[in-house]
C-alpha cells in the first residue's frame, strides 16, 4: 500500500485546522468558558461532599474535564452527520474515482484536522487550569494521558466512520448520528466521570467503545496511573478501524452495483 497519499491527506487536514485563524482561535476560548463553569460547579460539589467524590478531589476533576473535553472538541460536532450526507449526496461516489482508499484517506485528513484542534484546545485549557487550579496532580500520569488523548481522538474518528458507514444502507438516518454525540457526552464520560454512575450503568459503559474517547484521557490526566486503559483504547481501535474499512469497502461495492 502506498502511504504517501494518506500522509499528505493528514498534513492537509492539519493545515485546514488553522486555515480560518479567527475561528481557530475562538474554539479554544469556548473551552475556557466551559472550564470557568466547571471550576465553579465542581468547586461547590466537591466542597459540599467533603473534599473528595468518587476518588476525585477538586484539582483532579478539573484536569479530568480539560482532557476529556479537549479530546472530544477536536472533531467537528457535525462530522458523523456529514459522513452520512457525503454518502447519500454522492460525494463519496466521486471520491471513489481516486486511486486511494476512500475511508483511509478521509480518516487521515480528519485526524490531521482533529489532532491539531484537540492539541491546541488542550494547551490553552491546560494553561488556564494551571493558573486557576494548579498543575496536574501527577506528572507520570500526564505522560500516559497525552498519548491517551491522541488515541481517544483516533478511536472517536474511526468509530464515527464505522457508525456513519451505515448510511450506505440506511437512507436519511440523521437523527441516529445525533445520538452518537450524546452517547459520548454521558456514557463516554465527557460530562461526568463514569465513577459517578450507579453500579450497573457504570459496568454497561465499560462494555461500550465510547469511554475510550473521553473518559480514558480524563481519568489518566486526573492522576491515576492506569496503563491498562491505554490497552483498552488500542483494543477498540483494533476492532473499529478494520470494521470501518470493511463497512466502507462493502458499501462502495454496493454503491457500484445499485447506484448511489
Amino acid at each position: 500500500m502506498r502511504i504517501t497519499p494518506y500522509r499528505s491527506a493528514f498534513v492537509t487536514g492539519a493545515r485546514t485546522a488553522s486555515a480560518e485563524p479567527i475561528e481557530f482561535a475562538l474554539r479554544p476560548l469556548f473551552l475556557v468558558v466551559i472550564l470557568m463553569v466547571y471550576e465553579s460547579l465542581w468547586g461547590v460539589v466537591i466542597e459540599g461532599a467533603g473534599g473528595i467524590v468518587a476518588s476525585y478531589d477538586y484539582r483532579a476533576i478539573i484536569w479530568y474535564v480539560v482532557a476529556a473535553q479537549a479530546a472530544v472538541i477536536g472533531i467537528i460536532p457535525r462530522q458523523i452527520e456529514e459522513i452520512g450526507d457525503d454518502i447519500g449526496g454522492g460525494t463519496i461516489a466521486v471520491e471513489m474515482l481516486r486511486p486511494v482508499s476512500v475511508v483511509l484517506f478521509r480518516i487521515a485528513a480528519g485526524l490531521g484536522d482533529a489532532l491539531v484542534r484537540s492539541g491546541s484546545a488542550f494547551v490553552i485549557g491546560a494553561a488556564f487550569v494551571t493558573v486557576t487550579v494548579g498543575p496536574p496532580p501527577s506528572a507520570t500520569a500526564v505522560l500516559l494521558a497525552l498519548p491517551a488523548m491522541a488515541l481517544a481522538v483516533i478511536a472517536n474518528m474511526v468509530s464515527q466512520y464505522a457508525f456513519g458507514g451505515a448510511a450506505f444502507w440506511i437512507e436519511d438516518a440523521k437523527g441516529a448520528w445525533f445520538l452518537y454525540q450524546k452517547l459520548i457526552f454521558i456514557v463516554g464520560g465527557m460530562l461526568i466521570p463514569l465513577e459517578f454512575f450507579p453500579g450497573a450503568f457504570e459496568t454497561l459503559a465499560h462494555y461500550l467503545p465510547f469511554w475510550t474517547m473521553a473518559y480514558v484521557p480524563g481519568r489518566l490526566m486526573a492522576g491515576h496511573f492506569e496503563p491498562w486503559l491505554i490497552v483498552i483504547q488500542l483494543a477498540w481501535i483494533a476492532v473499529l478501524f478494520p470494521l470501518a474499512t470493511l463497512i466502507f469497502r462493502s458499501g462502495e461495492r454496493r454503491m457500484q452495483v445499485v447506484g448511489g
Partner: protein, 256 residues
C-alpha cells in the same frame, strides 16, 4: 402588529414545508435537553444536593431555559445572526421595506430545531415542576422576560458588529457563553463571575432570577428582572438604530 403576525406566519410556512425534517429536528433537540438533565440526575445521585439545588430545581431551570431559548432563538431565529447578516449585506432587502427593520428582521425566520425547545420547556414545567397557578404565572412571566433578555443581548452583540466591525464572531461566542452559563445554577458561581453574570453576560436574568422567583416570589427580585430586561432591550434597540447609520451593506468586505 399585523406585519409581525404576517411575517411570522410566513416564517412558519417556510419551516413547515419540510415537515419530516421539522419533526426530526424537534425530537433531536428534546433528546439533547434530556441528556443534560441526565447529567444532573447522575450528579445528584452521587452527591445529594448542590447548594440547595436538586433534580426538581434543575428541571425547573431547564423548563425556563428551553422555553426562553425556544422563544428567542426558535421563534426569533435571526436574533443570533444580526452581526453576520450585517457583515454580509443581508440587511439590504429589509431596509428597502417600509417597516421597522429590527422587528421585521427578528420575525422573519424561525429555527425549527429550537422550536423543539419551545415544546419541551412547557412540557417539562407542567409535568415535573409542580405547576400551581401561582408558579405557572411566574414561570410564564419569567420566561418571557428571560427571552427578552436573550434577544436583546444577541441584538446588542449584533449591533456591536455594526459599530466596531468584525465578522460577527463575537456574537457566536457571546451566544454560546450566555447559554452555557444559563444552563447552570446561579448559586454555584461566586465573586467576579457572579458579577459578570449580572452584567456582561446576563445569564442571571435568563435563568437565575426567573427560577428563584418561581420557587419563592419576591417583589424586589421581580422588579430587578423586569427592570433588567427593559434596560437591556432599550439599550439593544438604541444600539441597533445607531449601528444602522454605520451599516455598510457588506461594502467593507467586497471592496479591495
Amino acid at each position: 402588529m399585523r406585519i409581525v403576525l404576517a411575517s411570522m406566519r410566513t416564517a412558519f410556512l417556510e419551516a413547515w414545508t419540510n415537515r419530516r425534517s421539522f419533526w426530526l429536528q424537534v425530537t433531536m433537540m428534546m433528546a439533547n435537553d434530556l441528556v443534560w438533565i441526565a447529567f444532573w440526575v447522575l450528579l445528584f445521585n452521587k452527591v445529594g444536593d448542590v447548594r440547595g439545588w436538586d433534580a426538581r430545581r434543575i428541571v425547573l431551570l431547564y423548563a425556563v431555559l428551553t422555553t426562553a431559548a425556544g422563544l428567542a432563538l426558535g421563534l426569533l431565529a435571526n436574533s443570533r445572526r444580526i452581526g453576520r447578516m450585517a457583515v454580509e449585506g443581508e440587511l439590504d432587502p429589509v431596509l428597502t421595506l417600509p417597516v421597522r427593520p429590527l422587528v421585521y428582521l427578528l420575525t422573519k425566520r424561525v429555527d425549527t430545531s429550537l422550536l423543539g425547545d419551545l415544546i419541551f420547556g412547557p412540557v417539562l414545567f407542567f409535568t415535573l415542576a409542580g405547576p400551581t397557578v401561582e408558579r405557572t404565572a411566574i414561570y410564564i412571566a419569567g420566561s418571557l422576560a428571560s427571552a427578552a433578555v436573550l434577544v436583546a443581548f444577541l441584538v446588542l452583540l449584533g449591533a456591536l458588529t455594526l459599530l466596531i466591525g468584525g465578522k460577527g464572531e463575537q456574537s457566536d461566542l457571546g451566544f454560546q457563553a450566555v447559554l452555557i452559563f444559563s444552563s447552570y445554577p446561579l448559586d454555584i458561581f461566586g465573586g467576579a463571575t457572579k458579577f459578570m453574570l449580572y452584567t456582561a453576560i446576563p445569564a442571571a436574568f435568563v435563568t437565575g432570577l426567573p427560577v428563584r422567583l418561581v420557587d419563592e416570589f419576591h417583589a424586589g427580585t421581580f422588579a430587578l428582572l423586569l427592570g433588567g430586561a427593559a434596560f437591556i432591550s432599550l439599550l439593544a434597540a438604541m444600539s441597533f438604530k445607531l449601528g444602522l447609520r454605520r451599516y455598510s451593506s457588506g461594502a467593507l468586505w467586497t471592496r479591495a
